[in-house]
């Protein structure tokens, strides 16, 4: 296999003070648009019209990109809390319903037992009267 040497760029290639190009200008505009949709507490205090260099552009781009991720993370966390609270409430409701169902069953069983007792004693009384009549 051929191993090909790749020269590194010179030190002078790095220039964060280089004026921004059309690509970075567009990126800043688009991220600024995205920033306006963020909650107030996540927006930067950077005045985008004053951004002139690549280093300044990079700072702004990082700040807004991080803020977008943070906004999503915050919403996800809140959603998790609501689901947790909702889940607890559901469990409570289910427990109460189960208790009520158990009470109903118990009452019904008691009633049925009582009915059955009454029926039996009535039947016994009737048999007794018949036997007496004979």
């Amino acid at each position: 296999m051929t191993l090909i040497h790749v020269p590194r760029p010179r030190q002078s290639a790095l220039d964060p003070d280089r004026p921004i190009n059309a690509l970075l200008k567009a990126q800043i505009e688009q991220l600024h648009e995205a920033e306006t949709a963020l909650p107030l507490h996540l927006r930067t205090t950077i005045f985008v019209k004053a951004i002139k260099t690549e280093g300044e552009a990079a700072n702004y781009i990082r700040a807004v990109t991080e803020a977008i991720h943070k906004a999503h993370a915050d919403v996800k966390a809140q959603r998790g809390q609501r689901t947790g609270a909702k889940g607890k409430r559901v469990i409570e409701i289910a427990a109460i319903a189960a208790e009520e169902a158990e009470r109903t069953r118990t009452n019904r069983a008691r009633t049925n037992r009582a009915r059955s007792k009454k029926t039996k004693s009535r039947a016994k009384a009737m048999r007794s009267r018949k036997n007496s009549a004979k």
Binding site: A13, A26, E33, G55, T65
Partner: protein, 408 residues
């Protein structure tokens, strides 16, 4: 089923910035005459009428300040040389004139015709000679970065020819959304270099779907662990900036960023995939979003119009544009250990071919696409028999073991 297609599971697209085919790969015609690069008869007139020929004098940095204009009207001048007649013909004679409008210096304007020697670009030229190079891959529209990026993600720019935020029409989804939302069961990610470089042109996606994004560090890790998604789009670093790791040099090769830094980045992406357990199952497309105002000699062809039309105010030429002509030619190389060495592809492609290829491969009959995407050619055939052997680039029966390595 050819072995390369049968084993293919992952697509990776690396999109670099603002360089024309002739500027970066034009020197290769002297190595392989099948590659449609620089030849002696090519030229452009400058503003004095003098003939300026392409010369291998491009430098890594410092020549293209300010960066050339690639707005629609400027590219129209580059392609049509100022002819505004309704029946005009493209002649690729307006590059020097267009750059003169930026620099107002005759000698400086001639530098737009410079190209790189092969030895200046060991990574890109080696990959072009070792794998598949596309003679006819064009930017999707004769205009700037944002709308061309849009074609790479959506198959359309929704009528935009400029650099403004896209007016995304929900009827057409990005490749990422198709694979992860519309037809769940697949995976996709856009890896941007770092938070200071971020994404470009598809700002609606991180606003809605941050999980579709990761950093380049994550890409390297995913390659190492063999956990790349089905579809990955990798973006280079768009600016010189400080980071926790130290100083980061821009690696997108957009003028006037250092071209050597881009070579290092391309080599890094290639090495990461080649050294990954997924190398036998991955195809890497290296492509440039637009030509950056730099000279190229091939006339962009006409194409099927898109269903969206551009606003006359945005176009800036006073003439309508219905997305029926492609942009200027850009370098495009397909890398896979199943591609024969020295492959040269002459079919016509543009960036709409990216969502077309990925969607056809993974989703088959997915219908909600733009007219431009529907009519775009695909660079990898869907792995459904019968496979046309004249179109299949992953044609080797046995995987290559002689692929190059880069010492980065």
């Amino acid at each position: 089923m050819p072995a390369g297609l049968d084993k293919l599971r992952h697509f990776v697209v690396l999109m670099m910035e603002n360089r024309s085919f002739d500027n970066m790969l034009g020197s290769l015609k002297a190595i392989n005459p099948a590659i449609d690069g620089i030849s002696d008869e090519l030229s452009n007139p400058d503003t004095t009428g003098a003939i300026v020929k392409p010369q291998p004098l491009a430098e890594f940095q410092g020549q293209l300040i300010p960066d050339p204009d690639t707005h629609f009207a400027a590219v129209d001048l580059q392609i049509f040389s100022g002819n505004t007649h309704p029946n005009r013909r493209a002649n690729m004679q307006g590059f020097v004139k267009s750059y003169f409008n930026r620099v107002r210096d005759v000698r400086h304007s001639q530098m737009i015709m410079y190209y790189f020697k092969r030895t200046d670009l060991p990574v890109l030229t080696t990959l072009a000679l070792e794998f598949a190079v596309f003679n006819r891959w064009f930017a999707s529209i004769p205009g700037p970065t944002v709308c061309n990026h849009s074609f790479a993600h959506y198959g359309t720019s929704f009528g935009s020819v400029g650099m403004s935020l896209l007016n995304v029409n929900e009827s057409v989804k990005s490749t990422f959304e198709r694979l992860t939302h519309e037809r769940p069961g697949h995976s996709a990610k856009l890896y941007y270099y770092d938070m200071s470089s971020s994404v470009l042109g598809i700002m609606n996606l991180p606003r809605k779907e941050p999980r579709l994004f990761g950093t380049y560090e994550r890409f390297l890790s995913d390659c190492e662990t063999g956990t790349l998604p089905d579809y990955s789009f990798v973006s280079p670093n768009y600016s010189d900036h400080d980071s926790a790791r130290g100083c980061e040099v821009a690696s997108d090769q957009h003028p006037d960023h250092d071209v050597q830094a881009g070579e290092v980045f391309i080599a890094s992406v290639y090495n990461a995939i080649k050294n990954s357990p997924l190398w036998p199952n991955t195809a890497l497309l290296i492509v440039y979003d637009e030509h950056g105002g730099l000279y190229d000699h091939v006339v962009p062809p006409v194409c099927i119009p898109d269903q969206f039309a551009a606003s006359v105010n945005d176009i800036g030429t006073g003439m309508p544009f219905v997305f029926d002509r492609l942009g200027v030619r850009v370098p495009a190389i397909l890398v896979s250990p199943w591609i024969p060495k020295g492959t040269v592809v002459n079919r016509v492609f543009d960036h709409a071919s990216i969502p077309a290829t990925v969607t056809n491969f993974f989703l088959r009959d997915y219908a909600a696409r733009s007219l431009r995407e529907t009519s775009a050619d695909v660079f990898i055939e869907p792995n459904v028999a019968p496979i046309d052997p004249t179109r299949n680039l992953l044609s080797l029966n046995v995987m290559r073991t002689d692929c190059p390595d880069f010492d980065v």
